[in-house]
Symmetry: D2
Subunit: 373 residues, 4 copies
């Protein structure tokens, strides 16, 4: 299950490894930044995990998916995120996913590996293992199930950061886990060089700005990534370094384009694509149980994800078919897939519908003007 | 209490008034847009209300404040908003506030008058009255106290829009009132020409984009205003038409500047000011009961607001003094007021503090590199 | 609008009035308890308000309703509560409702009058007016719209209690208004003899016990009333003094019976009725906008409430008809109204349905035992 | 890790095991109830887990604790609950905890084993294993981290119930996991004989009554247990079959007494103890991170729990010492432990304090009567 068993050699990632405690990074540095590694930036795909008929991880398909994503321009890969349903994998499976992804990526893009385990000791063991696989950093979600106070969130991340052999990013997802507040983020960023960034999935721009204002004066190397692509372009426009966005499993070309357009300062064009990705995101997020809508979207791009681990009723399976047809229509508008044979019903934003409604509206207004209404 | 009794003539607003049912707008048009009025845009100040020693509305000070704001560049005025504590005024006082503001503005800027009363009948009576005072439109907050379903929110606004003699804007403030969801907004925008915009105080950019995507294809005249200046610049960058922002009571120059910079496409400069207004906003919002922090801020600009209508304990009054000193320091950095004589403690974003912390951090990193730590 | 104009004389309430500041109670005492008035107890009906065709308060029907309730055993009346839609009445209408109710009650039962107005000054004026009408006490809901901190909630009630000429009860309804927490309740109870009780509509028994534990050692005269009849019997069983329950507008006989049974210590029988009132309460609460379901229920008892002040769509009016038929079936089971001519569909708790399901279940279990399944 | 390896023979639990698919129960029955097993009832302790110096499960102390609880009258044991921090144990540790507890209990009391694992397949494997250890039933918490719809919650439990070799109880804890709503509970109870009860930790009596009303007509064998001892006595008074209460780790005598008193119909006496346990529960719940306050309480009874797995800051450790002294004072009032040498500060409910405040209050009232105030 180690990188080595996959024929993977860490040297491929361009890093010389010496020492023993801090495996995966040279002993002469502790944080990646201090070692000349660049700040995290760009779109990291929180990888969906394909399964085979028996419900096991489908490794060949995972490899094919990883390479397809890299070819379509994602800047990095993020296995074991919420999109990767890390909580529904066993501890062994989580290790295996990272090993396979790291091996397939072969250093072409950096890897941010989700490393949260049952407790700090297990998490540190995962950090050790992932460091040995050459990942760029680990991502640790805030404690979940129990809702902890900021002091305990600090204690948790502090204990990990103090002992981790590898750089780590905080992962704030308040709808699922204990929130990480701004003072705690500043405290962690100020005390632990190992903490090199935060992924925030709240979608709250004011919160993102508060974090930036609190941390950037201390740490120019600290990365701010958004996990909520409903606001990807605005987040990049206000200064985020990138995103880890479930939609990049489905439309890696588009999330990349939004990133590139904002970097180039072309905000108007970025916003056009943002409105389109918002429609897609909403269609994958709300009518499905997360992340099944994203799985359905990625299946339309030609991958086999198999049945998810959360059981579905027959009613849900029927719904899924209908909802997937809607996704196909949206993706067809992007010219990324064919339209379904049965055609597409007009959607709210399509010109045809709007025209009818607008004509009706104009007629009403005209009639009003003339005093008929 | 009518405009006339204040020596105010509606003609000053450049409108010819004929007919009797639709007072305030020419009988040949129903919606302002159809009458050639421009779409609402820019920063509308949700006016704080000064009180005198006896707890009555301080009309001379209100007039002085209104003119000061207009001179500092606000695009419009919005009496009887949440910042204006409309729920703490009597029905008579709400009328009086609008009458005074309209009279003082003398058509220099358009007025958006909060017109929500105890029920639809009373609200329509207020709409009539405000139309007679020459306001540009009324703003109606979603039903509050009871939390209503979308169908009831639609029924409520529909009943008002069907009978209002004046254009109206919806006011969505889900932390205080029943939320107005996207389908309801689209439905109202599609059916009622009188509904010409929405003020949204959720601060949620994805929600704003969803509204725009749903309504703009139908109604190019529909205005989107944000009530959450924590994200004012980003909201303008994604296409909002303006804002109704409590902070514009305190720093009208700055909210205007942010608006102008985004209109000019100078997003980078706009964001610099956005970060600064965020610090001020947070300092006025969180440690005080709303809107007392904004009152404290506006007092520093030279106005007398008197005691608010929500009683305070002596502990709160002591806190207020200390918190106001912090506000004075922030405003002094804007070069809008003097620094307090007692000086200013360093704040989180100030260079001095940050430098110390950054030096500590750099030293730690250096020691790590050298293997000392 | 005063009691006198209704031909009402305060002497009817059996109280001699002297002095001038504290109208409505003898000048030799301040709190009702100190004057020999008994602690509030029993079921107080938060009165629905009938309206006529023109949308005005239907006073004759209100009088008929008041007397009907008294005859059916309610212990007291509570005009201007949430059920009475006090926020949808004008300030004048609220006064009128109390005047009519007080006049009609003629001292037969005590009155707890909702007196919350736009601000403390207006609220105190209402307290004065209601004291002059001979009500037993006023009820003041916590500040709403703005969500206040405990310190501000304390300041608000303290200011009122310090100046009120009449006893008052706190009204905690956290789903609609700022919550009143236990330390604040204790503080108010400990400092202000005028504060003689609390109505709590949270339905949270632990919270009720925490209040009792905090206040009872200080104030044996302090009344605890529950506004959530979903748990009326349990609340009485743990020591509440009574309730102000919307359902008592519809089934005053049953809420009285539950009260009497718990006072008599017959908890088992009380719980039987509790389960039945829970079914009715849920059927009036969830499918309707509050309080329209209770209005529909009371209409079935023979009163005309007219259209409510919150507009309804035609879809909502159609739903209301169907939902009212369900209410009629539930009330018919209580033998309080006739069954609808169209008959009643089986409800979840009815024996017929359950028997079928139970038979199916038993058969399945039997088949399992025999190894067939 | 199997029962056998602990020298435990399932026959001790008085069950003959035949067949192969349904290990742990005779092949001639599927549900425990059909096999003559009684309905779950009484207080099941959700066991805290002691750890040794190295952070490993302290098995000798766990055994000592189990026997101590049984001797003090708990009706059953519930390892791997939220109090047992099942999410902070590895999959192997969870198995080990149940094995040790089952072996130590030796059939003296029934065991309800928390069996939720990463996914359905792993959960079913745990069910198999626990069936082999002779536990009475398993408890499965609703899916957590992701918040699922009722349809998915149904699908999840349905898949488990369809395949489980052992009876199971649902575990509803909406503050930590996806809520299980009443229709879903009814659906599961109606379709799956294996589902024999629910543990509900919402503390909501209305919800409990709604569940009972929906399920009891179908399933007389279905058990309702409350996990919220703040309302233990009221829940028992309205008809709950028992509870799984963290406080029973600390005061097993008292939770047992409350159960016995309510069974005997002595509600008044039960409520006296309920008020006292509420004070203790609040003191263990709110100021600590759950379940550390309960661990602190159980340590005062003479057990060594070691450091928990959630790290603590030094500030938290200092707080813990002070808070534990308060717990000691409360437990001393129960005459279960000695008072701390440093003495006890008066608490809110203590007679001494109350007397002072009451005297002050009476004096104030007297002065008012005399017109001095």
């Amino acid at each position: 299950m180690q990188g080595a068993s996959l024929g993977y050699s860490r040297q491929r990632a361009g890093q010389t490894v010496r020492g023993n405690r801090h495996r995966g990074v040279p002993s002469t540095c502790v944080t990646g930044y201090a070692c000349g590694l660049t700040k995290l930036h760009g779109i990291f795909t929180p990888l969906l995990v394909p399964q085979d008929e028996r419900g096991q991880i489908n490794e060949p398909e995972l490899r094919r998916f990883v390479s397809w994503l890299i070819e379509r321009g994602v800047h990095g890969l993020y296995p074991n995120g919420s999109t990767g349903e890390f909580t529904r994998l066993t501890a062994e499976e989580r290790r295996r996913v990272v090993a396979v992804v790291a091996d397939e990526a072969r250093g072409r893009v950096p890897i941010l590996a989700g490393a949260a385990e049952a407790n700090v000791k297990e998490t540190l063991a995962a950090c050790e293992a992932y460091a040995g696989m050459g990942v760029r950093a680990v991502a640790i979600v805030a404690p979940f199930y129990y809702k902890l106070t900021p002091e305990s969130v600090y204690a948790y991340f502090g204990e990990i950061a103090r002992n981790s052999p590898i750089d780590l990013t905080l992962y704030n997802i308040p709808m699922f886990a204990s929130p990480i507040d701004v003072p705690t983020i500043r405290r962690l960023a100020g005390e632990f060089p190992r903490v090199i960034g935060i992924k925030d999935s709240s979608g709250d721009l004011a919160f993102m700005m508060r974090m930036m204002a609190a941390v950037r004066p201390l740490r120019s190397d600290f990365a701010f990534l958004t996990g909520w692509e409903a606001v990807l372009a605005p987040m990049l426009m206000i200064g985020c370094d990138g995103g880890t966005n479930a939609s990049s499993n489905v439309v890696p070309e588009i999330t990349r384009r939004i990133f590139d357009l904002t970097v180039a300062g072309n905000h108007q064009e970025a916003m056009k694509w943002q409105f389109r990705i918002l429609e897609l995101f909403d269609a994958m997020l709300f009518p499905f149980e997360f992340p099944d809508g994203f799985r359905a979207g990625a299946e339309l791009r030609g991958f086999h994800f198999g049945r998810g681990r959360q059981p579905q009723t027959s009613a849900q399976r029927a719904d899924r078919t209908a909802l997937t047809a809607v996704l196909q229509c949206i993706l067809a508008d992007f010219e990324l897939v064919e339209r379904p044979a049965a055609g597409c019903a007009p959607r709210i934003r399509q010109v045809e519908t709007d025209k009818v409604e607008q004509v009706v509206f104009e007629v009403m207004r005209e009639l009003e003007k003339r005093g008929v209404l």
